[in-house]
């Protein structure tokens, strides 16, 4: 719905408190897996992505800016959740954080993986921090094709 091709880079483990971007859409997970997905952008990329998604010019002061970023984070998290078939996972409503080079922290100390993505609109970062309840986690059917 954003109409851009996304090239997924090599995921890396996030160490320390390095900030990656200026605008973040955050979706929390709870249930058999708990954590969050953070979709982060540099400011100008966030505006371009939100505009492309909404089909109208949107800057950070537009009333629909946060709504568009939040909905994009919702779609990323919702589609990722689909891969956890057999587990009971609920996702939260989106929150959006705006601030130059901010850091999104979690209260739980699960490892954070950053998936850098390149698009024609600029870089996008997907951060995933998740702890899984091993008692309810089904054995994966296959692991081939995994990128992480």
């Amino acid at each position: 719905m954003v109409h851009v091709k996304v090239e997924v880079g090599k995921p890396f483990l996030k160490r320390g408190l390095a900030a990656v971007a200026d605008v973040s859409g955050v979706i929390g997970f709870s249930g058999d897996a708990a954590g969050c997905v953070v979709l982060s952008f540099p400011s100008e990329v966030a505006c371009k992505v939100a505009s492309s998604f909404a089909g109208i010019e949107i800057d950070q002061n537009h009333p629909d800016f946060a709504d568009a970023i939040g909905e994009l984070a919702n779609m990323v998290a919702g589609n990722a959740k689909k891969e956890f078939e057999g587990m009971q996972i609920s996702i939260s409503l989106p929150s959006v954080i705006i601030g130059k080079q901010h850091i999104v922290l979690q209260s739980k100390h699960s490892p954070r993986i950053v998936i850098p993505c390149e698009t024609s609109l600029g870089p996008i970062y997907i951060e995933v921090g998740m702890s899984v309840d091993k008692a309810t986690c089904p054995t994966p059917a296959a692991t081939s094709g995994a990128t992480a």
């Binding site: 909404a54 109208i56 709504d67």
Partner: protein, 124 residues
Amino acid sequence: MKILLVDDSRTIRNIQKNVLKQIGHEDIVEANDGVEALKAIGAERPDLVLVDWNMPNMDGLSLVKKVRETDKTLPMIMVTTEAEKARVVEALKAGVNNYVAKPFDPQTLAQKIKQTMDKVGAPA
């Protein structure tokens, strides 16, 4: 045909409105959540409802169940990021007529609307 769009994202409602206008539907009502949707349906029954799942105040699944207590025939399509098989089954059991996973392309949404209205015997 009057269509009620129920989604807490105004961006998504605007995208849906644009798709609907492209396929000739101009009579569109909007609701931000299930509570607002119930009021809108009570005020004037629409011919079709597009409903999101995750919303504040009353989510889409609760809305569908509430509507089906009194109205078994109102065509309802769930449009949501909740795309696991178990969720689709849960929504169908609750009474939705069709299901569209986000992100969707305009053609898919238009096709699902036509499919739904054809099934219930109403013009799309």
